[in-house]
Symmetry: C2
Subunit: 212 residues, 2 copies
Amino acid sequence: MILCDIGNSFLHFYYRGRVWREAKTQLTPKDPKEVIIFISVNEDSAKSLLDSHPYCFDLLPFVSLDTNYKGLGVDRIVACNAITDGVIVDAGSAITIDIMHQAIHLGGCIMPGISRYREMFSSIAVLDCEFNLGVALDTFPQNTKDAVSYGMLKSILLMIENLSKGKKIYFTGGDGKFLSRFFENCIYDDLLIFKGMQNIITNKIISKGIQL
Amino acid sequence: MILCDIGNSFLHFYYRGRVWREAKTQLTPKDPKEVIIFISVNEDSAKSLLDSHPYCFDLLPFVSLDTNYKGLGVDRIVACNAITDGVIVDAGSAITIDIMHQAIHLGGCIMPGISRYREMFSSIAVLDCEFNLGVALDTFPQNTKDAVSYGMLKSILLMIENLSKGKKIYFTGGDGKFLSRFFENCIYDDLLIFKGMQNIITNKIISKGIQL
């Protein structure tokens, strides 16, 4: 069984403890006897996967979450299935923050990802400078580079702190490891989404005797 | 005496309690007997002003501020001259936050303006939705529109709160009035920069007998 999380830019695979990513135009052949269980937020990439492998299984019909949130993306739903209590911070091109309490999703918010801030500032000529991701956060910035870096980083950290309120924080995504450095009661887990997929497979498919 | 703050988009004028703005290509004639005292962050617009009026005076040589910050824009320096203690939040296409204590500038930071957040999110297809600036900030968002609005607004408010720490907050700029609604110890003052100019004129020009 191979797990696959199809994002907007890449297809992310998990197989026997190993993770890797592939572009939709450069998919490698996989063992045709292994089922690829996938979730997808990108129809084109999903089609490429289906064309490349004879034995694929879309997990979507089995994905669910106890929430009042309308329009939650399947990737966020699946990540939330990985934990019962805590805050999930998925830091990619956007930063999503989701709050879980006793297996119930209480809500979530969305901020621009670090790369988006960089693009945004570079579009303002006078602020077009590299970020200093090592900017001191305990003193006031004293130049433009530090001022924009502080404005970006501190506002993200304040938001995560404000929403987590002592709960354990689960960081994932490309910038998750970097952001996790600023918190104590947290872990960085780049397998979070695959753990969520595995939980859904165990609880909603295998335990019910459904054949893959 | 007419005061003029030349920004990147418009020239902002102040004359006898009245403020208005003009585009650099559509400058109206002013009374040729009145001096126009200006500060500028845009060379082209400054040139247009000089071409349109016979009697202009650049305040820049008289502008100063007690600070360690390198590269502070003349508009921020002048606004800081309007107060001795407090936090100045200038909310335009960028949001600048500057901290003043006993007439000393302690530092400042820069965040994207509200319109820039909107552009950032609209570049992510799935998040391309209007903001809800009335989003509830005391509960977790329950849909995408509220999630991005909350992510933008709450992070700006947390940052202002974190930097002001009980000091009085002076809001100015296009979105200043809106942001001021969320704070108690604050005022909105769209004349802040002209008050700063007036203080510089009084303290560094008139009091020293310098002729305009």
